[in-house]
Every structure is written in structure tokens, then in C-alpha cells.
């Protein structure tokens, strides 16, 4: 028997019914949004759009109703996500809260935390960032040094987080701090906190990416106070928490659909001016895309069944991000268009956008090297 299990997953009729609703909604909301804008995918940030999605009941879809959720299945959620991404909807303002922060609170948060945060998240009114990486801690996340030291009624935090996407426009961050220094045991003594980003002592500075865009931030904590009741779970549970939800973070359709807008432009161009080379490239791209969708869907099916497919998720992300990165290469090889920033057609601009974004695909959410290490562990090699 294989180490990895990817059972075929069929979507239930209710998921397909929901798909039709989401599609209709997106048709109305996105209208004639150009491909080069749609290409931003889950980096696109539009709080008004997120509120509308929340009003439709599509954030926190699987969560209990008492927290504003809708108690629907992971497969229905999967359909909402893939439709949003395939259409290039600007989901960034609720993406992290829906994918990570909310599920974390559901699993490890206190009742008060759930009641306070989850309903607002489901309405699309509360945006979250993730504070994990630090200047000296990237892939080696457990080496973080930002300290949260006990103080009256809570903790005083000192240190620096980096690459904190959307910190400048989020309400809260879920941040990983060191609450206890345990010599030689870096995975111990870590705790996660709900941090109000308007707290005095927190400074948020932009980190401009190579394309001149502002998504990342450096978040500096100088004696910033975090109340005790904003700690998620017990002291020292941080590492367990950050590794528990990885399957949710890594297997989603966002790990293979980041370049879908360019795939569409490639097909549009080859349909217009067919060449054997172009047609063949389209066939190959679609074969990879269809396979990745099945793999990603299969992990969603396992999540629905209550399994913990962390390994399969790592594998989907590794293959998926490789696919996303290959798309600009293929378009370059087949069509030879010059990527542009503000002139040229949709093909050129979408290419210009994605060719500059692509390096990040295999960095965010666990680098390719980290993922391959996880896969190797699954194979029994470490």
C-alpha cells in the first residue's frame, strides 16, 4: 500500500448547488474585472467585497451556528474557495481569518474568545494577519525570539515579526511568542496570542515587495501589552497549535490556482491564433490542473472524513506551487510575450504581474524545501 492516500472525492449535490450560487454572485460582483486584476487572487484585498461574502454566509461556512457559522461541510467550503479563486475574487480581507484564525479559535480558543471574534469574522468585518516569521526565524520557525513576559493581567511583548501580510490593514494578528525560554528545547515555551494591532507599543512598517507593492510588513513590539485573556490555549501550546492546522493551510485550492488568470489568457490567445505548439501546451497545462484539482479535492474529502492528511497536504502544496510557477514559463516559451506593468494587453499585464509574484508561491506557507522534508519524513527517511 502506498504511503500517501488520495482517495477520489465526489462532491455532494448540495456542494454543486452552492457552486451555482457562488458563480452567480461572482458574475455580478466581478463583472468585467480585467484578468490582470483577477490575477491578484487571494492577495486582492477588498473589505467591502468580504462583507458581501459574509452577508451571503460564505465565511466560516463549517463553523457552529452559535458563532455565526453555517455548519456546512468542508466539501461545500472547498467549492466556495475554488470558485472564488478561479474567478480571481479579491478575498484577501477575510481569507486568513476564514482559513486559519477562526479554525484556531474554534479548536483552541476560550468560549469568550470565540463569541467575541468568530461572529465578526463570519460577517467579513474582522481581518486577521499571522505573526510567525521573524528576522532571524523563517523556515526554522521554532527558533523565534519575540518574548511575551508575564506582567500584571497579561504579558508584555518585545521583538519583531516580519513578512506579516496585511498587518497594516488587519484588525488583529494571531502571533506566536516565546512565553518561556526552555534551554535546548526550542519547540517548548511557545504560545499564541490574539493581538489587537492598534495596541500601543506596536509599530507596523511596510516592506515593499519587488514589484513595488505593499503586502508585507515588519511589526515591531516594544513593551506592547497583551491581556491574559487574549492567549490562545495554554501557555506552551503554541507549537502544537501551529502544526495542527497545516493541512488546512497547505492543501487548499490557493496552492495551485495562483496563476489561473494567466492560464485563461493563454487559452484565450491560443484559441484566437492556434498553433500546434500552443495547443499542445494548453493540453498539458490542463492535464496538470485537472490532476491537481483532484488531489486538492481529495485532501478536502479526507478533512471532511476527520482524517489528518498533513503529508498529503504538503505534497499537494509542493506539486501545486510548482505548477503555478511553471505557468509564466510556459507562456513565455509558447507565446513569447513581453511582460508589462501598465501597457500592453491583458495577456502581457497578467504575465507581468504573475512573473513577479511567482517566486513567492513556493516560499509562503512553508518553503518547497521544508515541504519536501516533511514528505521525506512521511516516506520514513527522517
Amino acid at each position: 500500500m502506498s504511503v500517501f492516500q488520495f482517495d477520489l472525492t465526489e462532491l455532494p449535490p448540495e456542494a454543486e448547488a452552492l457552486r451555482a450560487e457562488v458563480r452567480e454572485f461572482l458574475r455580478e460582483e466581478l463583472g468585467t474585472t480585467p484578468a490582470s486584476r483577477r490575477a491578484a487572487s487571494w492577495s486582492g484585498y477588498d473589505p467591502e467585497f468580504s462583507r458581501k461574502v459574509g452577508a451571503r454566509g460564505w465565511i466560516g461556512l463549517t463553523w457552529p451556528k452559535r458563532y455565526g457559522g453555517h455548519e456546512r461541510t468542508f466539501l461545500e467550503r472547498y467549492v466556495v474557495l475554488e470558485e472564488m479563486l478561479a474567478a480571481g475574487a479579491p478575498v484577501g480581507a477575510h481569507w486568513i481569518a476564514d482559513r486559519q484564525s477562526g479554525p484556531l479559535l474554534l479548536r483552541f480558543g476560550t468560549e469568550a474568545q470565540r463569541q467575541r471574534f468568530l461572529p465578526a469574522i463570519t460577517r467579513g468585518e474582522l481581518a486577521f494577519a499571522i505573526g510567525m516569521s521573524e528576522p532571524d526565524s523563517g523556515s526554522d520557525l521554532a527558533s523565534i525570539r519575540t518574548r511575551a513576559q508575564r506582567a500584571d493581567g497579561g504579558y508584555v511583548v518585545n521583538g519583531t515579526k516580519v513578512w506579516t501580510s496585511n498587518a497594516h490593514r488587519s484588525d488583529y494578528a494571531i502571533a506566536l511568542f516565546r512565553t518561556t525560554v526552555v534551554p535546548d528545547k526550542k519547540h517548548e515555551g511557545l504560545s499564541q496570542f490574539l493581538v489587537d494591532l492598534k495596541t500601543p507599543g506596536i509599530m507596523i512598517r511596510p516592506i515593499i515587495d519587488l514589484a513595488g507593492e505593499h503586502h508585507f510588513n515588519e511589526v515591531v513590539f516594544q513593551d506592547a501589552f497583551v491581556p491574559e485573556d487574549m492567549r490562545v490555549g495554554g501557555e506552551g501550546d503554541g507549537w502544537k497549535q501551529v502544526t495542527t492546522e497545516l493541512a488546512f493551510e497547505r492543501s487548499g485550492p490557493e496552492r495551485y490556482l495562483s496563476s489561473v488568470a494567466l492560464v485563461m489568457e493563454l487559452i484565450r490567445e491560443v484559441s484566437r491564433r492556434p498553433t500546434e505548439r500552443g495547443i499542445s501546451a494548453v493540453g498539458r497545462v490542463v492535464a496538470h490542473m485537472a490532476t491537481l484539482r483532484q488531489m486538492s479535492l481529495s485532501v478536502a474529502g479526507m478533512l471532511q472524513a476527520g482524517a489528518n492528511p498533513n503529508l498529503e497536504a504538503a505534497l499537494v502544496k509542493d506539486v501545486g506551487t510548482g505548477f503555478e510557477q511553471e505557468i509564466p514559463e510556459i507562456v513565455h516559451a509558447v507565446l513569447g510575450v513581453e511582460p508589462t506593468v501598465d501597457t500592453g494587453g491583458e495577456l502581457e499585464q497578467t504575465m507581468g504581474y504573475l512573473v513577479q509574484r511567482a517566486p513567492s508561491f513556493s516560499l509562503r506557507g512553508g518553503t518547497r524545501e521544508v515541504l519536501r522534508g516533511i514528505i521525506a519524513r512521511g516516506l520514513g527517511l527522517r
Binding site: F4, I279, A287, L379
Partner: protein, 353 residues
């Protein structure tokens, strides 16, 4: 069959192949010896005719059931025309014909060849040359596709009515030339609806994709085992990150090929076969090339010898990826379909299937 039952079927098939398909057996098959005991065991186990109704002597199953058997045959490099028999018997059933015992094959398998069927009084006769017919000389019967008056017909012809010239693929599996000179068919009937000249290649590509997925799984297992056993620089080579990452990539291609192939078998049961076969043959074929390269890299020089068994999988993969159309053929097929539908139809199509 439920997925639990399919799991049991997989266990049964794996046990049978593990017991009977030894290195010696594959080697003797490469010298042209028919593995009679293996074939009999498969027939007695009811594994050769998964798609034939129980009333017709088969297992009365689905293509997803057949997938379990075909994949396992690929994984163990079973040197018998099991995949061919499964496809040929399904075509016979589709045409309402009885399925004989014994190994079956199909013709023609190449896109540039056709066979002519003609009525001669009560009987139907088959004429023409088919090359690269898998297990052509070993099969008891040939299931031939031709047409009479523009209507696709399936004919069952005893293999010994054909003149045969032996030929082989890289794995030394028979790929023979069969020459039919007005050979009388035992039976003939109009093919099931939707069957046309491309159908044999479609189903051929379907089964090869699952055989490839199985063979890639075998490469993965052999490579992981070797990496944990072989020591260099004082430790197992699997301790080195470079080797680990190669094996991780190999694993990801194994998974992708498996998913694509199994999905295509599901489509054989429920529709949209052409789309999913194209996806599967492209994806598994690409995985085959990469996985074979990585497996050999991990194994070093020993894997390049005839003595080591790695090549039973890699030589099959190099042939299978080209048989019934390689990635270039299917990419053009799929690309034509997708571009004809248009960019905006891609996502609805992808999610509708």
C-alpha cells in the same frame, strides 16, 4: 463494489502478484515463456474479467474495480495481457458478445492502421495487418474493431487465424504483428454506442495510465528501501537531503499519476472518458519519465544492471508512456478540445466532470 470491498480486492490481488510474479518469472517471460500458472491463478481468482457480468463468467464489476487489478499488474510488472483482456472483454460485452476464456488482445492499436471487416454469407471476415499488437501471439483470441457500411463493429477472432511475426517493446513484452487474410470471426456485432476508430486507443491509454501509476509506485517503494539500506559516507544515503528531496519529488509524481489514472477509470464508469483519459495519459506519462530518472539516480550504478530488478518497472514505463499515444499526442487532443471550448469554459468544464 464499495471502496471497502475494493480495498479487499487490492489485498487479494497484491498477495497473488507478490506470491507469483517473481524476478525469475519476469525474466523467463522476457525470454518468451508464457507464465501459464500466473494466468490460471488470475482466471481462477476471477480477476481477468472484472467488467463481464456474472452471467457471462465475469465478476460483474465496474471500471473502478478493474482499476485495482490493472494498477497492481503494473506495480508488479505482471507479464500477462491482463489489461488487454479487461479492455477486450469489455468491448465484447458492449457489443453483446460472449467472452471466451483465456488471454485476449485488441487490434488495431495504432492510429495509422485499420482492419477491414466484410460479410461473407453468414460469417464476418477480417482482413488487414495490425502491428505492435500487445501479446498478439500469446492471446487466445483477438478482439478487432472495424466497420461494416460505416457502422463500428466488434469481431472476435481466434488468434491462430492470423499470421504472426513477433515483435517486442523495451520491456520485452510481446508487441506482435498480426496479418489477417479473410480470417473468419467467431462472432461479430455492432459495437456499443459511441465506439469508433479511436476507442481502442482510448481504452488502451486508460489502462496504460493505471499500469504506469502502479509501476511508479513500485519505483518509489524500491527507491525508498534502497535509500535506507545503502550506506555511503558512514550513513544511509536516505539521510542526505539531496536524496530525500529527489524521493519527495518522486513521491509527488507517483501521487499525481495515481490520482489522474484512478479519476479516468471513474470516468469510464460515469462519462467524459476522453477528457479524463487524456489528462491521465499526459500526467502519468510525464510522471513516468521523471520518476524513472529519479529512481535510477537514487539507485546509482546497481540500478543500471540487468541483475537488479529496478528496470522491470523503468523499461515498462518508457514503453507504456508511448503506447496508445504519448503525452504529445494526448496534449494536442486535449488542447484542441479545450481551445475549441474557449477560455471561459475551462473552469465550468473542469468542475463539471
Amino acid at each position: 463494489m464499495t471502496s471497502e470491498l475494493r480495498g479487499l480486492l487490492a489485498d487479494t490481488v497484491t498477495r497473488l502478484f507478490t506470491d507469483l510474479v517473481s524476478k525469475e518469472l519476469i525474466e523467463s517471460a522476457e525470454r518468451g515463456v508464457w507464465p501459464d500458472k500466473l494466468w490460471r491463478a488470475l482466471e481462477e481468482g476471477g480477476l481477468t474479467l472484472p467488467l463481464v457480468p456474472e452471467s457471462g463468467g465475469g465478476a460483474g464489476g465496474t471500471w473502478l474495480d478493474a482499476h485495482v487489478v490493472v494498477r497492481a499488474a503494473g506495480q508488479h510488472a505482471a507479464p500477462v495481457p491482463l489489461a488487454e483482456t479487461i479492455v477486450a472483454s469489455a468491448l465484447l460485452v458492449g457489443a453483446g458478445l460472449e467472452v471466451p476464456l483465456g488471454p485476449l488482445t485488441l487490434a488495431p492499436v495504432r492510429a495509422d492502421e485499420t482492419l477491414t471487416l466484410a460479410r461473407a454469407g453468414e460469417s464476418v471476415r477480417l482482413r488487414g495487418t495490425a502491428t505492435r499488437v500487445p501479446w498478439g501471439a500469446a492471446a487466445g483470441h483477438v478482439v478487432a474493431l472495424g466497420d461494416i457500411d460505416g457502422r463500428a463493429m466488434i469481431a472476435l477472432v481466434p488468434r491462430d487465424t492470423a499470421r504472426t511475426t513477433p515483435d517486442r517493446n523495451l520491456a520485452l513484452e510481446p508487441r506482435d504483428t498480426l496479418i489477417f487474410d479473410d480470417a473468419p470471426a467467431l462472432a461479430a456485432a455492432p459495437a456499443a454506442a459511441g465506439v469508433n476508430a479511436d476507442t481502442l486507443r482510448l481504452y488502451g491509454a486508460l489502462v496504460r495510465s493505471a499500469q504506469m501509476a502502479g509501476a511508479i509506485e513500485s519505483l518509489l517503494q524500491q527507491s525508498v528501501r534502497y535509500a535506507t539500506e545503502r550506506r555511503q559516507f558512514g550513513r544511509p544515503i536516505g539521510n542526505f537531503q539531496a536524496i530525500q528531496h529527489n524521493l519527495a519529488v518522486l513521491a509527488s509524481h507517483a501521487a499525481a499519476a495515481s490520482v489522474a489514472a484512478e479519476r479516468a477509470f471513474a470516468a469510464a464508469d460515469s462519462g467524459n472518458l476522453a477528457f479524463h483519459v487524456a489528462v491521465a495519459k499526459i500526467r502519468a506519462g510525464e510522471a513516468a519519465g521523471i520518476a524513472a530518472g529519479l529512481a535510477h539516480q537514487v539507485h546509482g550504478a546497481i540500478g543500471f544492471t540487468y541483475e537488479h530488478s529496478l528496470h522491470f518497472a523503468t523499461r515498462r514505463l518508457w514503453s507504456w508512456r508511448a503506447e496508445f499515444g504519448g503525452e504529445s499526442h494526448w496534449s494536442v487532443e486535449l488542447g484542441r478540445h479545450v481551445t475549441a471550448r474557449g477560455a471561459d469554459q475551462l473552469w465550468p468544464d473542469l468542475t463539471a466532470r
